[in-house]
């Protein structure tokens, strides 16, 4: 018997690990990807990050997540740092607006973090979205890392999900799920001069808990 066997740590996926309870997004390829990385959707009681550049489908994915949560009669919250939330496209994605608390923070990241802190500690929310997409890098770099530990502590052992979206990782080691989104191509129809925007093909890659093969899905224009 190998005396060092107890100290051997298996890196990557554990074959017999139980998937974490999660919330499916309703986007079949993405749900399949998340099941593959053993999270069964966005993991509950944990922080998830959705990363990507502009027009990469971050908000589309957030709306799908909120729609799935509100369809299960959960109350959700959207902490809107950059005052960018569009209720019309959210409603078109299936979000029940009557179950959504919208907090407009007027481009103030400190206010957004305090509001998210209050919401997470109040408890009872299905999904709390912290939208940091329009936070400038110089402010991003000054966000204290203690916030993310505090947020993780507030929601662990609860069914709440904290979904953070931005251009770069914020919660880093505190996040249980990290998805990278990129825009593959834009779909237009019609002849030049009479074209219509039909949607965007998006590629999603899991960066955490493990790197996994990319999947594509299409965000259809309304």
């Amino acid at each position: 018997m190998n005396p060092n066997a107890a100290h051997v740590i298996t890196l990557g996926l554990r074959p017999n690990a139980q998937p974490r309870e999660g919330l499916s997004t309703g986007i079949a390829p993405l749900d399949a990807l998340l099941t593959h990385v053993q999270t069964q959707g966005f993991p509950r009681g944990a922080i998830s990050e959705i990363l990507g550049p502009e027009s990469s489908g971050r908000t589309t994915l957030l709306h799908s997540l909120l729609a799935a949560a509100t369809a299960q009669l959960e109350i959700c919250a959207y902490v809107d740092t950059g005052d960018s939330f569009d209720p019309v496209s959210a409603a078109a994605s299936g979000v029940a607006l009557s179950q959504l608390v919208w907090v407009r923070c007027g481009h103030n990241a400190a206010h957004a973090l305090k509001a998210a802190d209050a919401l997470l500690h109040a408890g009872g929310f299905g999904v709390v979205v912290l939208d940091l997409c329009q936070v400038p890098t110089r402010i991003w770099n000054h966000i204290p890392i203690s916030y993310w530990y505090r947020f993780r502590r507030a929601i662990e052992n609860t069914p709440s999900i904290l979904a953070i979206t931005g251009q770069q990782p914020a919660a880093k080691s505190c996040a249980s799920l990290m998805l990278d989104l990129t825009r593959k191509r834009t779909i237009w129809t019609g002849a030049p001069g009479f074209s219509l925007l039909r949607g965007v093909e998006i590629e999603a890659t899991s960066r955490k808990p493990v790197r996994a093969a990319a999947v594509q899905f299409i965000a259809q224009a309304i």
Binding site: T60, T70, D83, S93, A118, A122, G123
Partner: protein, 404 residues
């Protein structure tokens, strides 16, 4: 059972009735009826009880004693002075609560007195007038035995404290507010009521009063929650001068009753959620927290933020995968170069590039009869960096937001 009824124009009718019975029914502002069983040992026969009531009531008040409440009311309203065991047979049928149609029909039938109405066949009356006809006949016969609707004086939930010295700090005031709230919330609880509105009135030194009213989205009666809400409100809107006296009024309503389900997800407790939202309002501003609500309009921004608590009212099916839009608030002013009336290049703060593809123009206008009129051409554009934007000309160019 024996009932007494007093009828007359007097504001002291409830006090007169309360002298003889702790529970009474105020049928109308000028009519009160109550039971007098058990008063025989104090006053004697029904006639002597009626005399005692009339003696206390004074002049111009009719008193009637009858075996049913409605018979006593009819007698008190139609016989002057004191009436004991009245004979209602001779009363005009118009003394009953008739509709105009019923009065005409009775007149055509030759029914003028209660005695004549009482002798009509009950089935025939039911066929002609329905349940109300039968009820009137039973009134005429004096056989309706019903419980009294006991008069409950309006309970007010308020408290007032006058201070010996003016207080300028909020913390000592909160101790006093907590004292009043604790008492009033205990009263609310004992009466199975809750508060839907809390008003605090601070009387200030050399200043007009400072009045703040909290409209609660759900009825509450937990003094700690109400105190915290008042504290946050007073911190956001402090009084302009030291306080000399304070008074607090709670508006009572019936508490909210909700049937919860074992399989329903856990949602935030309403009072805790209200505290959280009040705390966030203190951070981001009063008008920046609420529920988004869509408006029935073609306006470019067809929504508003409603100050309310979230509620589960619909069960929409998720339609995932619709492309979302993100607004730039305020819209970014842009310089757009045109090529044959189509955008060819765009420069704005943080965004610039050649337009690879554009869809439009989508011309919209509306509300020209109001001050919020809009008239603009919208374009969906893709730039060289791949980002998708919605721009509009109004008549200056702006970037409204991005597709994400």
């Amino acid at each position: 059972m024996i009932f007494a009824c007093i009828h007359g124009l007097s504001e002291s009718l409830p006090a007169i009735a309360a002298a003889f019975s702790p529970s009474f029914e105020q049928t109308a502002p000028d009519t009160i009826v109550f039971r007098i069983d058990g008063l025989e040992r104090l006053h004697g026969s029904p006639r002597q009880i009626a005399d005692a009531i009339a003696h206390r009531a004074g002049e111009n008040i009719n008193v009637a004693i009858a075996p049913t409440a409605d018979a006593a009311i009819l007698a008190a309203r139609n016989f002057p002075g004191i009436t004991v065991a009245p004979d209602l047979n001779g009363l005009d049928v118009g003394t009953l609560p008739l509709t105009e149609e019923m009065a005409q029909v009775f007149e055509s039938w030759g029914i003028y007195t209660l005695e004549q109405l009482a002798q009509l066949p009950e089935n025939g009356l039911a066929e002609r007038f329905g349940p109300h006809g039968v009820y009137l006949q039973q009134l005429a016969r004096g056989i309706i035995h019903r419980p009294l609707k006991i008069f409950q004086p309006e309970t007010t939930y308020d408290g007032r404290i006058e201070l010996d010295h003016p207080v300028s700090l909020l913390e000592p005031l909160l101790f006093l507010i907590a004292r009043i709230l604790s008492d009033q919330c205990a009263r609310l609880l004992s009466n199975a009521m809750a508060a839907s509105e809390v008003t605090i009135h601070l009387e200030l030194e050399d200043h007009p009063g400072h009045i703040r009213t909290l409209h609660l989205p759900v009825p509450m009666r937990e003094s700690k929650s109400l105190l915290k809400l008042l504290q946050m409100d007073l911190e956001a809107h402090p009084p302009q001068a030291p306080t000399l006296a304070l008074s607090l009024t709670l508006k009572p309503v019936h508490p909210r009753t909700v049937q919860t389900g074992i399989f329903l997800p856990i949602t935030p407790a309403p009072d805790k959620l209200e505290l959280t939202l009040a705390r966030i309002r203190g951070i981001v501003g009063e008008s920046n927290v609420g529920i988004p609500e869509l408006l029935n309009t073609h306006h470019p921004h067809p929504y508003r933020l409603v100050r309310a608590q979230p509620s589960v009212v619909s069960h929409p099916s998720a339609a995932a995968g619709h492309q979302a839009f993100r607004y730039f608030r305020p819209p970014l002013p842009a310089t757009v170069s045109l090529d044959g009336n189509r955008p060819a290049r765009i420069i704005a703060s943080g965004i610039q590039g050649k337009v690879l593809q554009a869809a439009g123009p989508w011309r919209t206008s509306g509300d020209w009869w109001t001050s919020t009129a809009w008239n603009r051409d919208e374009w969906d554009i893709a730039l060289t960096n791949g980002a998708l934007y919605r721009i509009y000309c109004d008549p200056h160019w702006f970037i409204e937001g991005s597709y994400d």
